[in-house]
């Protein structure tokens, strides 16, 4: 890599860091509250939640797009989001409120079902996972509708869960869950990151990968299980924030090139910054709180078109 390329690369990294800092500051210092200890404590938690959710979603998206070699794959394609919604709605019916444990179990069980069904037939598991995931998503969505139909207040909870919302209220239970899953996610992501070479090879083609000695069947299963875990963590806590897992990995590839060693890290931080900015807008645009997921798509599309056009 020549000096000029290095400088170009450095510029992009600096830009990314600046966006991230802007996101953090924007999220910390805007909003309805005064700057008292309690409120800053809540905002710091919300910032960490945003960094965590955005980063993990974009990272999982990058990994899945690399594995499947399909630009339309995102973390929710494999059924985890609708599984979580299904779990949450069952929780609402049984307990009267959305419990993160239910969303997590729902998401995990649908992931497990997708894997089992995809493995029934022989052939390339990788491709069947997508189809099965999409089909299961539809099934879960109809089940959610079936459960939720007729609900009034419950509908709100499900909408905010399906759109994704960072303004959750931290009960001791949720605080513990957040701590636990952020540590677990960190380990899972570091583990997956070690396979960046394998992702590079697989994205050039399955034949190449096989001839280079990668067991693509086993590798797909491993990656699928780990990303499903990651996505279940996020969805159970903040709901399915859309658009981040789909578009941020593309943006990161445009900025940092096709090598996964760079663009996965880029995805993580770009995702964090993006979700923080979106959430800061969701809180401040109107007097009422909006679901974060609405804003991610609203500002995400113009951002993506800009990148696409002026890269």
């Amino acid at each position: 890599m020549g000096l000029r390329n290095w400088r170009k690369y450095l510029n992009k990294v600096v830009l990314l860091v600046l966006i991230l800092i802007a996101g953090i500051l924007f999220e910390l210092f805007t909003g309805p509250g005064e700057f008292t200890g309690e409120i800053m404590q809540l905002r710091i938690l919300r910032v960490s939640l945003g960094i965590f959710a955005g980063g993990v979603l974009a990272f999982s998206g990058g990994i899945l797009q690399g594995l499947f070699g399909n630009p339309l794959v995102e973390p929710y394609t494999l059924g985890s989001a609708s599984g979580a919604a299904l779990g949450a709605s069952i929780g609402i019916v049984l307990l009267g409120y959305a419990n993160p444990a239910f969303s997590f179990l729902g998401s995990l069980m649908v992931g497990f079902l997708v894997l089992t069904i995809a493995r029934i037939e022989s052939g390339l598991l990788r491709d069947r996972l997508i189809l099965t995931g999409v089909v299961m998503s539809f099934l879960c969505s109809s089940l959610v509708m079936l459960i939720m139909i007729g609900g009034k207040r419950e509908l709100y909870e499900i909408i905010y869960l399906l759109m994704g919302y960072l303004g959750i209220v931290f009960t001791p239970e949720r605080r513990f869950i957040f701590l636990l899953i952020s540590i677990l996610s960190l380990f899972i992501m570091l583990y997956l990151y070690r396979f960046h070479r394998e992702f590079d090879i697989i994205s050039t083609g399955v034949e190449t990968a096989t001839s280079l000695g990668i067991d693509i069947q086993m590798f797909s299963i491993k990656v699928f299980i780990l990303t499903t875990l990651l996505v279940s963590f996020i969805v159970s806590l903040v709901g399915a924030i859309g658009f981040v897992g789909l578009v941020i990995p593309h943006s990161s590839r445009m900025l940092f090139g096709p090598r996964h060693i760079k663009n996965l890290v880029g995805s993580f931080f770009l995702g964090s910054a993006f979700v923080l900015l979106a959430d800061a807008m969701a809180r401040n645009l109107v007097v009422y709180e909006l679901p974060t997921g609405i804003i991610t798509s609203l500002i995400g599309v113009p951002f993506f078109i800009y990148l696409y056009r002026f890269k």
Binding site: E38, L155, E157, G167
Partner: protein
């Protein structure tokens, strides 16, 4: 000889009696659980031919033919009942209302934003069902029991839903009910009926009393410890939601509960 006259007279008088009941055979479908309760209370239950699965009070309402649930009543089922009047909630059932009106069915819209609106709805439905006396006495009863107690207003926060936080704004009749009972809704300035709010706003507005209308625990929330209602253990749960969330006769019971809270 006597009987020859009496029997036709009896028959005739029965016929006239039948005619003098003005709403004989009038068929009403109620898609509003609150209005179902109102119709029962004013003595119009015989006219009800269809209700929703949410209409569970009084007990005999459960036996009436169900046309669907609150959000998705079946237009086909409603039409098959050949109703003369369908009671709809606005805005939730606007789509149903439009469809029914296309078939030429008369609808009665209810969307109370204040206590007065509730009374107006009761009087109007009483007039339509020719049960004015029942409606008047129901309104009298409610007015006698739900009245401004003239107490010192205490800052109150009502939580309807925890994730996201949903409370009551100015355009909910509950806002007025709280004020009459001796509270001041801390979100009474928001021009909406059920706004989604930020927890920072709750902490800043620091309510003295918190009323929770959902089953989730609220003690132990991060950052909420400074709120005086939580410090002084003025958090009220286990209220009967239907008493407060249904703008019907049982609002009186809900008001009595609020009265106790603000004592």
């Amino acid at each position: 000889m006597k009987w020859r006259f009496t029997i036709p007279i009896l028959i005739l008088s029965f016929l006239f009696c039948e005619r003098s009941v003005p709403r004989q055979g009038f068929r009403v479908v109620s898609l509003s659980p609150a209005m179902t309760e109102v119709i029962f209370a004013i003595g119009g239950a015989d006219y009800l031919v269809g209700v929703t699965t949410y209409c569970d009070y009084p007990d005999s309402a459960k036996k009436i033919y169900k046309v669907g649930d609150f959000s998705n009543p079946s237009v086909e089922r409603i039409l098959s009942l050949k109703p003369d009047l369908v009671i709809v909630n606005i805005p939730e059932q606007r789509r149903i209302k439009e469809q029914l009106e296309k078939y030429g069915i008369r609808t009665f819209s209810t969307s109370p934003k204040s206590i007065d609106d509730i009374y107006k709805d009761i009087i109007n439905i009483g007039r339509i069902l020719k049960k004015e006396e029942g409606a008047d006495s129901l309104v009298e009863y409610m007015k006698a029991n739900i009245r401004d107690l003239g107490r010192k207003k205490r800052k109150t926060y009502i939580e309807i839903c925890a994730q996201p936080l949903i409370t009551i704004g100015r355009y909910s009749y509950l806002n007025e009910l709280i004020e009459m009972a001796g509270g001041e809704n801390i979100f009474g300035d928001l021009e909406k009926d059920y706004p989604v709010i930020n927890q920072e706003q709750v902490i800043m507005r620091n309510p003295d009393i918190i009323i929770v209308l959902h089953p989730e625990e609220i003690e132990g929330r991060l950052g909420w410890g400074r709120i005086s209602a939580i410090k002084n253990k003025k958090v009220y749960k286990n209220l009967n939601q239907d008493w407060l969330m249904r703008p019907g006769p049982r609002l009186v019971l809900g008001f009595k509960e609020l009265e106790k809270i603000f004592e």
